[in-house]
């Protein structure tokens, strides 16, 4: 008997510890696991390293976690967006460290972390400030930089549906970083709109096979960042 379903977001994020590295899926609001992030705010752990493509908007989701002073370091490709003021303020005040990584390198580092690849070479960022201090090497006459795989203690991911074995499917461009973050974390927590029995998802269409997923939690009607912001919500 295998059942990875957890009763609530609070229960699902219960064991996140101070100093943990947490990968958080999403590209802008698409795929942002807001309910898991809010549960983490309630849960209280601090000194977190967050790996996520953006730093959140308004004062909900990732921006609210930042505002609550719980993030020591952010690993990210694009830490500013239209409605983002929380991260810029913390960053300028020296209260949150930033590791800026090109988006494709970030994705590949996460995938490598999950795939047992400690390092790889990429042409991205060669000759730019983001390659400074990094080892570089020529292959076939072209220069590449060496990048390291990235792993995490936890991943927070938003899917569309999952079965109790942890197989997950996603919704449109909300898929983005979810499948690779689920691979790269020791404990992968996926919130979905519905949890079904094994057999309820076509094995040909599974995007994240259950082996990459530790816990699934049902959030039947997940909030969208833009709607919360439009409604003036500031979490908590």
């Amino acid at each position: 008997m295998i059942d990875k379903q957890i009763s609530s977001p609070a229960e699902a994020v219960r064991d996140v510890f101070d100093g943990a590295t947490v990968m958080v899926g999403g590209f802008g609001e698409a795929g942002s696991p807001i309910e898991l992030i809010h549960a983490l705010i309630d849960q209280g752990s601090k000194d977190l390293t967050i790996v996520s493509n953006n730093t959140g908007s308004g004062e909900v989701g990732l921006a609210a976690l930042l505002k609550a002073g719980r993030v020591r370091k952010f690993i990210c490709s694009f830490p500013r967006t239209a409605n983002s003021t929380v991260f810029p303020e913390l960053y300028r005040a020296g209260k949150c460290e930033l590791e800026l990584v090109p988006q494709g390198t970030l994705a590949e580092r996460i995938r490598a972390g999950g795939a047992g690849i400690p390092a790889f070479y990429t042409p991205s960022a060669v000759g730019t400030p983001l390659a400074e201090g990094k080892e570089s090497r020529e292959f076939d006459g072209r220069e590449y930089v060496m990048e390291h795989g990235l792993k995490a203690d936890f991943a927070f991911v938003k899917g569309r549906s999952a079965d109790t074995y942890g197989n997950v499917v996603y919704n449109k461009t909300a898929r983005n970083f979810g499948p690779i973050m689920a691979m790269a974390a020791k404990v992968s927590i996926v919130q979905v709109e519905s949890v079904v029995e094994p057999g309820g998802i076509d094995p040909e269409s599974v995007v994240s096979p259950g082996i990459f997923v530790s816990r699934v939690v049902e959030v039947a009607e997940p909030a969208h960042e833009s709607e919360l912001i439009a409604a003036g919500v500031s979490y908590p």
Partner: protein, 221 residues
């Protein structure tokens, strides 16, 4: 700019986009950057089908949805709601950047802060003190896509040239740009430097050279 108050010289943003669109072959896989590049999709000539890639996980991106028809989880790299055409495919970020890095995309059209005569591109940071650095997928796109076109105003709002001998802003990539479309001209990046390909209405060689921060080679026939 002063020109626009007297007699307009050169192209509008739409005309720039339209000119780019003419140079894109049928069947190309294309990534369009945020801003003016997005306009290119509106001007693809009759009879050509392009497949648009957006790095956040969609091949076969379609136009913006009608008001109220959008899905906040179907967006483009600029985080605006879009649609998906019949024949589209969704995929995760590592696969998306495999398409980019692996040289599978035919063309990427990007905006620029500066383009150097050797094809260096600066388009992600002015290096300003206190600015929040943010790079997104630009460095991966210029390193991986087969052909990089730039579409940009010829000069900054304050009249500084954007086509320069060498970039002063932090680079996005080295020697990556092959062609630049501005409001004043179409210019190729060649081994010998910038070479004029096409002038816009009202702009002659001297006019464009004057607004260019590096030597401009004349049209070659």
């Amino acid at each position: 700019m002063s020109e626009s108050m007297t007699q307009r010289v050169g192209w509008t943003r739409e005309q720039m986009a339209q000119r780019v669109a003419q140079d894109i072959e049928n069947g190309s896989y294309v990534n369009l950057g945020i801003g003016i590049p997005e306009l290119v999709a509106k001007f693809v000539p009759e009879g050509r089908t392009l497949i648009y890639h957006t790095e956040n996980g969609l091949l076969g991106m379609g136009p913006s949805p009608e008001e109220g028809e959008g899905d906040p989880e179907l967006i483009n790299a600029g985080k605006k709601q879009v649609s998906a055409i019949p024949g589209a495919a969704y995929f995760h970020h590592a696969d998306s950047f495999s398409m980019i890095r692996g040289g599978h995309l035919d063309l990427c059209v990007l905006g620029a802060l500066q383009v150097a005569q050797n094809g260096d591109l600066a388009n992600w940071s002015t290096g300003e003190e206190g600015a929040i650095p943010a790079v997104g997928g630009a460095m991966d796109l210029v390193a991986g896509v087969k052909k990089i076109y730039v579409i940009t105003q010829h000069t900054t709002k304050t009249g500084e040239p954007k086509l320069v001998e060498s970039c002063t802003y932090p680079l996005t990539g080295l020697g990556v740009v092959t062609r630049v479309y501005t409001d004043l001209a179409v210019i190729d990046v060649t081994p010998d430097g910038f070479r004029l390909v096409e002038l816009t209405p009202g702009a002659d060689f001297a006019y464009v050279q004057e607004r260019t921060g590096a030597q401009l080679l004349p049209l070659s026939h």
